[in-house]
């Protein structure tokens, strides 16, 4: 025994030395932000099993030496494997219990990360056993300690490498969506295998892989893939768990595999509990010196009670070599009993224990914009104050990391489109909208009848509008789940339509809510009136256009002119000028079709980020002028349509034509909202006459000077497609027959809190664009040769 005590002491010292320093002051936020931060700072507790193992040994030696023939090293081995907390069991239990995040992370993190320690200890002890206790030298102990670091850090590194690879490859899978889940699984598994191959900690590798790649992969892969991955993983995990525990059970019954020794069993049971508690108390005492929020007694109780052993221990004990470790059977029996005990007894009783101790539970609240926003604010505030104080605290590092991430990593690893819209506040907002939209749809609501919409709980404006919607849903009995994650799956329907619907509802939802508000926004009231007018106008236009579509064979290319066009002010282009526009700015619009009539659409709807500053410059109005064709035709006849006007930036000569026809237009400049509504009213009339003329003249112009082949120009970025802030929406290229409805709805949907001036134009724009999309997509369709000019109705 004395002889045994010496190496024991040595090990104790080594153990003490290897206690990992607790890392930064966590200041843990209460709710889980996505990404690394949460897990980074909680790497303490890894050493718990180490200490416990040692203590167990001491006890077990004393108690059972007479009965079981095993040396110190054997017991060390046993101790190392029995003390490892098992992530599977912990997860299964804690997921039900819903303790607060801090606790959960501590215990779960420990179980994940102690794999490294377990593996090292196990291997070290195993090799010591093989070498025989007489041959063990001091350097071997040191090597053991060193290998601890190598194994854990190496495993983490392998995981991170694979995470990087995964994120990078998913960036490019836009066309081949189907392989995304495959990639995720395979690369994660590859990480595991690689680590195993290098005898590093495989669990750590997989964990770090998941941690590292989550943010980027989630942004890159499609919703369907995400869902597929998630549920497959859950299924697999569940299967694996079941199988392991079945194996456990079967081995328990199969008595050839084990030998019973009461002393060992009882002693082990008692001591694992005891020493775990001891270890926890000691370590939290150390940690509390550095923590902002102390871990109090209750937390400690839960931590020590929540250390469940499971499959890992069992697997390791089965792997023991009976030749080297003659006491294997006793160990197996003990392990089985321990596992059973902890899982069954502790697992079952932890829930009532938690309740009884009144442990702080995790508050699962639905995210509100407010909270998200304010959280961000606070983060910034804190970071700033830390700077003032000169203290490089948690927030400072977090900020640094976020900046680094934004600058380099996200750009490298995330898809362009995903990268552009990455903003947490917007994410929350978007999700909330989707949820509202979906619930709205479930209500069977019809947006056009929004006037009659009754959302009874809406007026009860608590801080969380979602709760009212939730209530609605419950009442209506629709089975819609408001779980944010599940919402993703709902969108598995046809994305485009969903998106259209979403935006439609988005706008639609706004209105009723605002209705209850005694809002003083100036565009509140006029919106409805506007809409009705617009709808009429719009429908008339559509009819007309349909006619002209059929009757002519010219193509129309329209460009969604971006800010550059807008900058210049009036876009009074006739077809010719537009043609030039094409010539003049090929780089902007990317056409080769010189003679194409360009429908310059200026949409104030642009929500491109880069146009945000130019939006402010706009004070011209967009007014529909359908006088287009007549003028165009004139021009066509006159100029042979291929003159090159100076770049559209300069007001082309056509304004005079425009002026001619619509003299009142010139004064449009900075008129207020209401004026623009008038203009739209007037426009149809103009359009009527214009159109009638154009019809007749068009017939005659069968082969127009614009002999452009019906090539369609493709706008470089589908302007409307990209303008929708969220990716999946491509502006509705709905089939013709239904175009009247969805575009207008989409229109209505898209109107957010914009001035109503937008709405008339938008609505008109909408169908046009819808058409344009169609024409773009179906080159066969002959497009009518019109030029519709849009001058923006000014609003200021």
């Amino acid at each position: 025994m004395l002889r045994a005590a010496l190496p024991l002491l040595g090990l104790l010292l080594a153990g003490a030395g290897a206690v990992e320093e607790p890392t930064q002051d966590p200041g843990l936020p209460g709710e889980p932000p996505p990404g690394l931060e949460l897990f980074r700072w909680q790497w303490h507790e890894v050493e718990a099993p180490y200490l416990v193992a040692l203590w167990i040994l001491v006890a077990s030696l004393a108690k059972i030496a007479p009965k079981v023939q095993a040396g110190l090293l054997d017991f060390l081995l046993f101790g190392s494997l029995i003390s490892a907390v098992d992530p599977v069991a912990v997860l299964a239990v804690f997921e039900e219990v819903h303790v607060n995040e801090t606790l959960f992370i501590i215990v779960f993190g420990e179980s994940l990360l102690n794999d490294a320690v377990t593996v090292v200890l196990y291997k070290v002890c195993n090799s010591f056993v093989e070498m025989g206790s007489a041959n063990v030298r001091a350097t071997d102990y040191l090597k053991g300690v060193a290998s601890l670091f190598v194994v854990s850090l190496g495993g983490a590194a392998v995981g991170l490498v694979f995470a990087f690879l995964l994120a990078l490859t998913t960036r490019f899978t836009k066309r081949v969506r189907i392989i995304e889940p495959l990639l995720v699984f395979l690369l994660a598994y590859a990480a595991y295998l690689t680590a195993e191959m290098a005898s590093l900690s495989a669990i750590l590798a997989v964990t770090m892989c998941g941690l590292g790649c989550k943010k980027y992969v989630e942004a890159n892969i499609s919703h369907k893939s995400r869902t597929a991955v998630k549920y497959t993983m859950k299924t697999l995990a569940s299967c694996a768990e079941t199988i392991i525990f079945m194996l456990l059970g079967i081995s328990a019954v199969d008595s050839s595999k084990w030998a019973w020794d009461s002393g060992l069993v009882l002693g082990t049971l008692f001591f694992i509990l005891f020493f775990r508690a001891l270890g926890v108390v000691l370590q939290t005492w150390v940690l509390n010196q550095f923590r902002l929020v102390r871990l109090d007694k209750i937390d400690q109780v839960v931590m020590s009670y929540g250390g469940l052993r499971g499959a890992v221990a069992f697997a390791l004990v089965i792997l023991l070599d009976r030749m080297k470790v003659p006491a294997k059977d006793y160990f197996v029996a003990t392990t089985i009993v321990v596992v059973f005990f902890t899982v069954i007894v502790q697992g079952l009783t932890i829930k009532p224990l938690v309740k009884w101790l009144k442990v702080k539970r995790s508050e699962h609240h639905k995210p509100t914009l407010n909270q998200e926003l304010h959280e961000h604010t606070f983060d910034h505030i804190l970071a700033a104050v830390e700077d003032v104080v000169g203290h490089h605290g948690y927030h400072y590092w977090r900020d640094r990391w976020e900046q680094f991430d934004k600058k380099y990593l996200s750009q490298l690893l995330m898809r362009r489109s995903a990268y552009r819209i990455r903003d947490q506040i917007w994410d929350v907002y978007y999700r909330l909208n989707i949820r509202d939209a979906i619930s709205f749809v479930d209500q069977g609501g019809h947006v056009l009848s929004s006037t009659g919409l009754t959302l009874p709980s809406m007026p009860s404006r608590n801080s969380v509008a979602e709760t009212s919607v939730t209530n609605l849903l419950r009442e209506s009995g629709s089975g819609a789940c408001l779980d944010l994650q599940v919402i993703d799956t709902v969108r598995s329907g046809r994305d485009r339509e969903d998106a259209v619907m979403h935006h439609l509802l988005c706008g639609g939802l706004y209105k009723p809510r605002r209705r209850y508000k005694a809002s003083c926004s100036r565009h509140f009231i006029s919106e409805d009136a506007q809409e009705r007018q617009d709808k009429e106008v719009f429908q008339q236009n559509m009819k007309r256009r349909l006619e002209s579509f059929k009757s002519t064979k010219h193509n129309i290319c329209f460009t969604k002119s971006k800010p550059r066009l807008r900058k210049t002010g009036h876009r009074k282009k006739d077809g010719v000028a537009n043609a030039e526009a094409a010539n003049g700015k090929p780089q902007d619009l990317g056409f080769q079709d010189t003679a194409a009539v360009i429908l310059t659409v200026e949409s104030e709807e642009e929500e491109e980020s880069d146009s945000s500053e130019t939006e402010k410059e706009d004070d011209e109005g967009i007014i529909f002028v359908a006088r287009a064709t007549s003028e165009v035709l004139q021009e066509g006849k006159v100029s042979g349509n291929l003159e090159v006007c100076p770049s559209p930036r300069i007001i082309p000569p056509s304004p005079t034509c425009a002026e001619k026809e619509l003299p009142w237009k010139s004064g449009q400049g900075d008129l207020a909202v209401y004026v623009s509504s008038e203009t739209t009213k007037i426009v149809p009339v103009e359009m009527q006459t214009g159109w009638n003329q154009s019809m007749s003249s068009l017939e005659s112009l069968a082969s127009p000077p614009c002999t452009q082949a019906p090539t369609l120009t493709h706008l470089p970025p589908c302007p409307l497609g990209t303008e929708e802030p969220q990716a999946p929406l491509n502006l509705p290229s709905d089939p013709h027959p239904s175009f009247a409805f969805p575009p207008s709805l989409a229109k209505a949907g898209r109107s957010r809190s914009e001035s109503s001036a937008d709405i008339p134009q938008q609505q008109e724009l909408q169908p046009l664009m819808g058409h344009k999309d169609n024409t773009r997509l179906s080159p066969g369709i002959a497009n009518s040769h019109w030029c519709i000019q849009f001058n923006r109705g000014g609003w200021l």
Partner: protein, 173 residues
């Protein structure tokens, strides 16, 4: 505590390059990291209550005291007649509220919310999106329908958040 006061004093002196004995806006602006912080200017502003031009050490410490971690024993032993300590939850929230509410009218209007949003949100989000977010935020919090968020509503909307923990800096304990 004593130690942290000493530390703050050192920092104060370090910031006060010209050894005036007080800090002006320039001194605070010289802190590099604040320049890249979207709310940097506002924070600096908050050090100068009532629009003064200088802040002495007492003022400096007073503002920073808002960020002291909350000590549970304090709450128990506090004499209810005394004004609440600066680092209580209410006062922390009030500090944050004042950062939003520039014109000090006791309410965060939609416009002010929009401004803060504009500061904090990246360039990817366009103006209209920002506006809708601002609208929605105000809507969520606003209970009496006045289109602005008063301090009470602000507090209420954040009741679930662990402010004491979030708005504390450990070394100021």
């Amino acid at each position: 505590s004593q130690a942290s006061l000493v530390r703050l004093h050192h920092r104060f002196q370090a910031l006060d390059r010209s050894k005036k004995g007080y800090l002006s806006r320039m001194d605070l602006q010289r802190i590099g990291a604040l320049a890249v912080n979207p709310l940097g200017d506002r924070i600096i502003e908050s050090f100068f209550p009532d629009g003064g031009q200088q802040v002495d050490f007492a003022g400096f410490a007073r503002v920073l005291a808002h960020f002291r971690p909350v000590d549970d024993e304090d709450i128990g032993n506090r004499d209810p007649k005394q004004p609440e300590p600066l680092n209580s939850r209410t006062n922390k929230l009030r500090f944050a509220f004042q950062l939003y509410d520039l014109d000090r009218d006791g309410k965060i209007s939609r416009h002010e919310m929009l401004q803060v949003l504009r500061l904090m949100v990246g360039v990817q989000v366009t103006e209209e999106q920002l506006e809708s977010i601002a609208d929605r935020t105000v809507q969520e919090a606003d209970e009496d329908g006045d289109g602005a968020v008063s301090f009470l509503e602000f507090t209420k909307s954040l009741e679930k958040m662990n402010i004491e923990q979030k708005m504390s800096i450990r070394i100021l304990k």
